[in-house]
Symmetry: C2
Subunit: 426 residues, 2 copies
Amino acid sequence: MNAPDNRDAEIEQAVREVGLRAKAAAAALAQSTAAQRTRALEAAAAAIRAASAQIIEANRADMAAAQNQSLSAAMLDRLRLDAGRVEAMAAGVAAVAALPDPLGRTLHETTRPNGLHIARVSVPLGVIGIIYESRPNVTADAGALCLRAGNAAILRGGSESRQSSAAILACLRRALAETGLPEDAMQGLPTTDRRAVGALLRLADCVDIIVPRGGRGLIERVQQESRIPVLAHLDGLCHTYVDGGADPAKARRIVLNAKMRRTGVCGATETLLIDRRIAAAELPGIAEDLRAAGCELRGDDAARAIDPRIGLASEADWDTEYLDAILAIAVVDGVAGAIRHIARHGSHHTEAIVTEDKAVAERFLAEVDAAIVLVNASTQFADGGEFGMGAEIGIATGKLHARGPVGAEQLTSYKYLVRGTGQIRP
Amino acid sequence: MNAPDNRDAEIEQAVREVGLRAKAAAAALAQSTAAQRTRALEAAAAAIRAASAQIIEANRADMAAAQNQSLSAAMLDRLRLDAGRVEAMAAGVAAVAALPDPLGRTLHETTRPNGLHIARVSVPLGVIGIIYESRPNVTADAGALCLRAGNAAILRGGSESRQSSAAILACLRRALAETGLPEDAMQGLPTTDRRAVGALLRLADCVDIIVPRGGRGLIERVQQESRIPVLAHLDGLCHTYVDGGADPAKARRIVLNAKMRRTGVCGATETLLIDRRIAAAELPGIAEDLRAAGCELRGDDAARAIDPRIGLASEADWDTEYLDAILAIAVVDGVAGAIRHIARHGSHHTEAIVTEDKAVAERFLAEVDAAIVLVNASTQFADGGEFGMGAEIGIATGKLHARGPVGAEQLTSYKYLVRGTGQIRP
């Protein structure tokens, strides 16, 4: 029977057509002005506001279908839209419209002894494929950020948010058309069939970069299957190290916030490292705050000797991103011990030290290999908005192209413009 | 018989050990100072000069073996070293020692309203795998550039240059050891068996980036097989467009140089595009210069109608990187026609326009999608040295991470250093 093969080929072909249209739209978008892109983003915010009722209606249909599929309460909450959430989404798009335009900036320029003037100027990346899970507002957030940087986007949301995402996407496309920019700069995939995602990940001649947003399973699948470079992070196994030179009150406040402000975000601290010199004095107070906030504690023998109410951590705990109200606690030998622990168990995402000792802080900043290293601040600041980028499409832990929060500036490439007066090379 | 399988596993394991040693060396190197790296590079230049006789002797053995394998005269010339070439190699390493150090630069900094100070600071990429063909001096050039940027390198030269490369590599390692830096920051592969290259391309947990240098066959194999990001260009199919607004004398000088200065380099022009408005007046002179320099010409019908001595170009000629004294010639309708031809046949490497019309020049600069776009200058300037980078490891045509000449600065990543005073996130 040929049917499945035919369907594979059909999906492949339909996804390729989306890719080719995106590529053509990206070429047109690369020649648009910053003012045009700003107008399109403002129009998109207005279109979302105007279509609030339709978006909420589409979302009701998604919610009804999801309830039949017995999704978890957390997933249902991520899927749900109401008037407040739609307004927040529109405000987010308007905020991206107000961001400085990252294109056409001269990143570097030089005049050579032979008179050639060489300028490195920022240009769009091209076509960005975004694959995400239930939250339909990613359609607006990610689409807006791509557009700010002059990129076309192919937006593939979770099948459970299909109708909500389609309603939001329609607003983006309407705004593009109203502003005289190509509608195909924002497209979805032609089917929610998972094979379409595979086809997108193989579309290396049309798509320049893939940004997956979601759980570990999604990121792993994308990193495995993609023939296109991926900007993402697999884990956010962040540590906070309380050094012997820490201000105790600051340490308590920072650890509590780093773990408990929101436990499900990638910048949440998962392991507390505490300097042996002050563990006996300071760990009980830190543990007390955390327990009062509802956090389960799992420590090594040294931590449990100080506070027996701390549970026993297994080897696996040092490598677990809980994304929950659980904290692993290890007593380490000073900053060197903390750096060793992080080198072995960290995920190169975000790491923090609490200390008043400047030399120790500088050593931690220099030696820890992570996208973000903080001194005397909560790991929960790992966020493009908090970094002043206005918005982010995610946080990357690779060392290539963009590392840390990925904002509009990170969604660009550059080219060299060389202006001469007839120079030939000797 | 198990022997081949065992050999596969042995090679895999031996390459993995090289990778793990490189990773450890890279971590140590990341903490070295700019002064240490400079001293190591100076010591490497001195070591190459001191070992000149041994390097030439090793090269004689390679040359003898190569002559038995009937390599082409061009390949034998690339392989051959003499006292002058060894001295040039040492001088190249000394020049890299004198380059500004690209690490620890503050690329961007900001203080947030909450008082957090955020700095984006350049750091090494880590481990760079370099796969190259016959020219043994790449060992010194590429190794030095990696070291300047604090990276460890795994250098895999062509098997025909095995002994020459080993002698040069020994100089680099001696210099590292003398300077107190880890010798394993510069390593070769344990065997010239081609399977070792495959194993290197799969070593994604040890190697951060692969830089292939060589012909199309090598680059294609690496791009196909690698599970690690590759910085390279597949083709350098460069165009020079002579616009109706060109200064005729400049146009003749630039086209001749762009094609004939060296025909085997990636920045050599392969196709001349000439504006229909001036083709009849200017093409004969341009063609005359090229023929006098020994260049074969293949044109479209319009070009041949003007100068019947031009041969007939086939469709394939527009997509061929000759790397030889052959030039394809197409008559186009102004700058729009040139931009269309380049969009269809270009390789996103280097493109040039000759014109005195500033508006036309700016349109070409804006609309051509290539790593390097030149006005009134030869495409042969596509070179890191000519761009003031001091040296380059290659030219990249992808849009991610680094585009255009890849110098020491492009062999870095960054991390965010965040300094606070106890900030927690609301």
